[in-house]
Structures are given as C-alpha cells and as structure tokens.
C-alpha cells in the first residue's frame, strides 16, 4: 500500500474515533503518531514539540487572560457590565437579550475566550431572560452565539496563537479585531430584536439617563480594565502578555481588597446595585482570599484543556507541511483564479473545518496553509487573519462540534440538538457579518497605525 492510502486510512480511523467520543487531544495525537510512522518521521519530534512548541512569551497571555476572565466574574464585575448593557438597551423590545449580546462584547474586551464568555454571560443572563418571558431555548442560543465574539474583540487568545504562528504583530491583530467584533455584536442584536418583536418576548423599561449613569458608575472597574488593556496595547506601553499580567494582577488585588469593604458597606454578594447609593455602588463584592485557590484552579483546568490541544496541533501542522499539504491546497485553489474566488474558497475551508475542529487546532493547522495563499493574491495579512478568525469563531456554534453549544447546554440544561435549532437565526446573522468583514478590508485595517499590507514583523 502506498503512503497516501495508509494516511487516508489513518485519517478515516481517527475520524471514527472522534465520532464515538475519544478526546480531541488524543485524536490529533494518534493521527500524528500514525502518520509519523508511515512516512518514517521520528517520533522524538513529538516529545520535543509538546514542550518547545509552547515555549513562546506571547502564548503566556493565554492563561493570564483566562484568569482575568475568572477573576472579573468572581469579583462581581461581570454582573455590573451586564447591568450596564441592560440599562442602555432595556428600552428596546428584546432589550434584555440584546444587552446579553452587548455584555458578551464587553466581557470579551477583558477576557479572551469564547467559551468563558458564553459561560459567564449565560449563567448570569439565562435565568433573567427566562424570568422576563423569553423562550428558554432562544435565551440559551443567545448566550452560545454571543460568546463567539469572545475571540474576536480583543484581547483574544486565538489572535495570540495566530500571531505566534504567522509572525504577525499581536497588537496589530488585536486592533484589527475591534470593528469586526462590534459588527458581529450588532448583527446578532438585529436578529435578536427582530425575533423578540415577532414573538413579543421580554419586558420594556424606560430609558433613563439616570439609570445609565448609575450603572456605568457600578461598572467602572470593568471599563477601567478594558481601558488598561486597550491603552497599554495601543500605545505600545506593554506587550499583550504584559497587559494580560497587569489586568490579572489588578483584578486579583481589586477583588481581594474590595471584599471586606463591600461587606462593611452592605454591597450585595450577587453584585446587583439595586438600592445602593451612588457612593456605595462603585464597590464590587469581590471575593475572599480563601476563594482564590478555586478561581485559579478553574483557570488551570481550562488552561489544561486548551494548551495541550495547541501543542499537539503544532505537531500536526509540522507533519502536514512535511507531507506538502500547502502545495497541494495551493495547486487546488490556483485553478480558481482571481481574488474573490480564492478568498471565498479559503473561507469555505475554514468554515467546514470549523464544524468538526476546535478553533485552536483549526487555526494552527489551516492558517499556515491558507494565509500564504491569501497573501499571494494580495489579501492584506491582518485582514485575512481577521476573516480567518471570524470564520473560526462561527465554528463555535456550528454542529457537529460547536464548543459554545456544549457550554450553553451545560449551564442551562437544554439539550444540544434543541439548542442547535434556535441558533440558526444567529448563525445566519454571523455569516452575513462575516461576508461584510471579508468584502470590506478597511473594517479590519482602519485602526492600524500603518498600512498593514505585507508588514510582517
């Protein structure tokens, strides 16, 4: 049997294992081992790369942003951001669901992960939405879909990985993701508004400047954290990793210091500002020092889930490049000719791969193949990165493997397949947003200081 046939058999075999539920880490690991044996490539490479593949300062931002997300959630800052979003959007039909989406955007601007965004906003908003008359399936679908902006609005774990792989400035990538992330939020809010209007979901509260001011006062720590990250990265005062470290350290200290103060002042544990005077509402509930180990362990748990996946995907990417996957795909796409056919073909590949692959493996495996092709036809590298990663983000809610759907199903108890149906309108909105982002490169590159075209750091 030729190598090609053997590799095809291995690929089919591991796909079968994937279907019966073997962990993805092992699926990729087995593929790598199998193919290495077939093409007679040393297995020692795996031992080295699982370690050296992660040995990169930029990647450190990943555990730090995960920790930041857990800290702002536990300190009650996330709840304040949700309240703020609601105070701004509560007067519209469907305002609560729309503010859940807006809060996803705000949370995404401090944390960097999709599933964390879904889990945090979903667990705060889902009960509230169900209480005020939303369909519970729709409410869960809102949390799952809203979470997709988690990796597009900076800071973002996946941008860090992309920059690390493709040698692009991570700060540039972060700036590139800002406007597209907002477009995604607005697109989903539009759908949400339409659905809520059609079904008469939710209640309406009057728009009051007073309420907005109060809520923003309560959320000031969240805004400060967002400002810190954006300012630090935009001005180049610190690298993304340092920004992550500073925000994590800041949120940790704030959480601990505020806890006793909040108790004395009688700030409610759930973070709600109702009935508090303006002066008291600037304090968040925080967390006791003895809760800290559990918060960190939770982050360690998520890190232990994602980072091994990165490492093993890097090995897979190496093997694919040994096999000449890049030349193969290039030759295949070259026949299409032209800027748009190739760009759309790349997008289609990302989308299809995203239905079964988790976003990190998807990026690590496909980006090194597709990015040079896109660069070859003159797509700006930052623009392409954003297009690629928005497609990746959409993969979080596409079946069969959509991580956000699992998370939302896990926190709300709604079965996976039912959730899937209710996600369709959001999926369509995101696809439209994706097309817009792909067709107008300026949306991704407008915020960069320099013309991003071809500038590899």
């Amino acid at each position: 049997m030729s190598d090609g046939v053997l590799i095809a058999l291995i690929s089919i075999g591991v796909t079968a294992l994937f279907i019966i539920g073997v962990p993805i880490f092992l699926i990729i690991g087995l593929w790598v081992v199998g193919v290495s044996l077939v093409i007679d490539f040393t297995l020692a490479n795996i031992g080295v790369t699982l370690y050296e593949g992660l040995n990169f300062f930029g990647l450190l931002a990943l555990p730090l942003f995960i920790l930041t997300g857990d800290l702002i959630n536990n300190a009650g800052i996330a709840k304040r951001l949700v309240d703020f979003a609601y105070s701004v959007l509560g007067w519209v039909r469907g305002g609560m669901a729309m503010s859940a989406l807006g809060a996803c955007g705000l949370f995404a601007a401090i944390s960097g992960s999709n599933s964390a965004t879904t889990a945090t906003i979903g667990s705060i908003m889902h009960p509230e939405m169900t209480k005020t008359g939303y369909d519970e399936n729709f409410a869960a679908a809102t949390a799952a879909s809203g979470g997709t902006v988690g990796i597009i609005i900076p800071p973002s774990i996946i941008f860090i990985v992309y920059g690390f792989l493709m040698n692009l400035s991570i700060s540039d990538l972060f700036l590139g993701g800002m406007i597209p992330g907002i477009i995604m939020v607005v697109a989903m809010q539009t759908v949400c508004w339409y659905m809520s209007k059609k079904h008469g979901w939710g209640t309406i509260q009057k728009l009051q400047i007073n309420r907005i001011l109060r809520a923003s006062l309560g959320a000031w720590l969240g805004f400060f954290a967002i400002g810190l990250v954006v300012w630090g990265i935009y001005t180049g005062k610190f690298s993304p990793t340092e920004a992550a470290g500073v925000t994590a350290g800041f949120c940790l200290l704030v959480g601990i210091i505020m806890h006793p103060i909040a108790r004395v002042l009688g700030v409610r544990e759930d973070g709600s500002v109702e009935g508090l005077s303006a002066g008291k509402s600037i304090f968040v509930p925080g967390f006791a020092i003895r809760e800290l180990p559990n918060i960190i362990l939770r982050s360690g748990f998520i890190t232990g889930m994602l980072v091994p996946l990165i490492a093993v995907s890097v090995v897979m990417q190496q093997i694919l490049s040994l096999l000449g996957a890049k030349d193969f795909v290039t030759a295949m796409l070259a026949n299409l000719g032209g800027y748009y056919p190739i760009l759309f073909a790349c997008m289609l590949l990302v989308l299809i791969a995203g239905t079964i692959l988790e976003s990190l493996p998807n990026t690590i495996i496909l980006a090194p193949i597709l990015a040079p092709i896109a660069a070859g036809i003159g797509v700006d590298p930052i623009h392409f990165a954003v297009v690629f990663l928005v497609g990746d983000a959409i993969g979080f809610i596409t079946p069969p493997y959509g991580l956000n759907l699992y998370v939302a199903s896990g926190i709300t108890g709604i079965p996976y397949f039912r959730l899937l149906r209710y996600t369709v309108p959001y999926l369509i909105a995101l696809l439209v947003a994706w097309l817009i982002i792909a067709l107008i490169p300026d949306l991704s590159t407008a915020l960069l200081f320099h013309d991003g075209a071809g500038v590899y750091q």
């Binding site: 294992l17 994937f18 279907i19 019966i20 539920g21 073997v22 962990p23 993805i24 880490f25 092992l26 087995l30 297995l43 020692a44 795996i46 031992g47 080295v48 699982l50 370690y51 992660l54 040995n55 990169f56 300062f57 990647l59 450190l60 555990p63 730090l64 920790l67 599933s115 889990a119 610190f238 340092e242 470290g245 500073v246 994590a248 350290g249 180990p293 559990n294 960190i296 362990l297 939770r298 982050s299 360690g300 748990f301 998520i302 890190t303 232990g304 889930m305 980072v307 091994p308 996946l309 490492a311 079964i356 988790e358 069969p400 493997y401 991580l403 699992y406 896990g410 996976y416 397949f417």
Partner: protein, 172 residues
C-alpha cells in the same frame, strides 16, 4: 497513608496553584517595576514561560482526572451500555499508550538538557531540565489518573451504573 491520600487529592492542584500564582505575580510585579523604577529582571520573560508549561501539562493531568478533555459526546451518549463501556475503555487505552510514548521521548529531552548543563536564559544557576521535567512528570501522572478512572469504570460496569459521558466544563 494520610500523606499519600492528601497527595492523591491535591498534587495537581498544588502545582497549578503555585505555578499559576508565581507566573502571574512575576509578570505583574516586573511590569510595575519597569514603570516605576525603570528596571526589570532578566529572567522575567523566561521563568514565567517555564512555569506556564508546568501549569499547562499538570493542568492536562488535572483535566484528564476529571475526564473533561474536549470531545464530541452526542453519539457516545446514545450508544448501548456495553458500547459505552468499550468506548470509555478505548479512551483509557489510548491515553496510556500515547502517554508512554511521550514519556519515552520527553525523557530523552530531559537527559540531553541535563547532560549539557543548560541553564535558563537570564539566570546563573537555574537548570533548564527542572522545567523540561514538566512533560514526563505530567504524563506519568496522566497514566496514574487514567488507571484510577479505569478501575472506577470497571467497577461501574460490574454494578451496572452509568458512566461519565458528559464532560463537566465547570471544573470542580
């Protein structure tokens, strides 16, 4: 006995806590120091990465212990009981096989670094092989955890109890 029980419960947690806090602390303090006093330790960009590698791989064992590694669950949840048992056992066998391979090759790496007296950049006497130990140690731990889960699953199978099919995403 008490010590062993404690270690069994807390070994991953302790490593993750210490390394995670140290890594965050070093970066936070060093950035502040750079702003305030214009000084920064040379090892502040190397040691945290190595701590991160410990967090990542020990975290991998911690996640394996809780059977929470990302996977597609919908088909497995609908398999007949014996089918589920076989699928769960298959996971364990693959984990163990893969871990043995990683330990074998990672140990070579540690040996090499040990023989070369390689030190961490920016330090005078911090040996690199201390950190290279992360992968072999973590995968040894994974084998141990997988064995524990395997015994648990065999017991469940005998008693006809349900298996852990849904991964808990919440941690503990």
């Amino acid at each position: 006995m008490f010590v062993l029980k404690w270690l069994d419960d807390n070994i991953e947690k302790t490593v993750i806590l210490v390394c995670y806090l140290a890594m965050t602390g070093i970066i936070f303090v060093e950035v502040i120091r750079r702003f305030a006093f214009n000084e920064q330790a040379a090892w502040s960009s190397t040691i945290p990465i190595y701590l991160f590698l410990w967090v990542a791989w020990i975290g991998c064992a911690y996640t394996a212990k809780q059977r929470a590694h990302l996977r597609f669950e919908e088909v497995r949840a609908r398999l007949p009981y014996t089918g589920q048992f076989c699928a769960v056992m298959l996971d364990h066998v693959i984990w163990i096989g893969f871990s043995i391979m990683v330990i074998y090759f990672a140990a070579e790496q540690v040996q090499l670094s040990y023989d070369n007296f390689a030190i961490v950049q920016g330090t005078d006497n911090v040996m690199q092989w201390w950190f290279y130990m992360a992968t072999p140690v973590a995968f040894a731990l994974i084998i141990y955890r997988v064995f524990q889960n395997m015994i648990d699953d065999i017991r469940r199978f005998r008693e006809g109890k349900p298996f852990h099919i849904k991964a808990g995403l919440g941690g503990e």
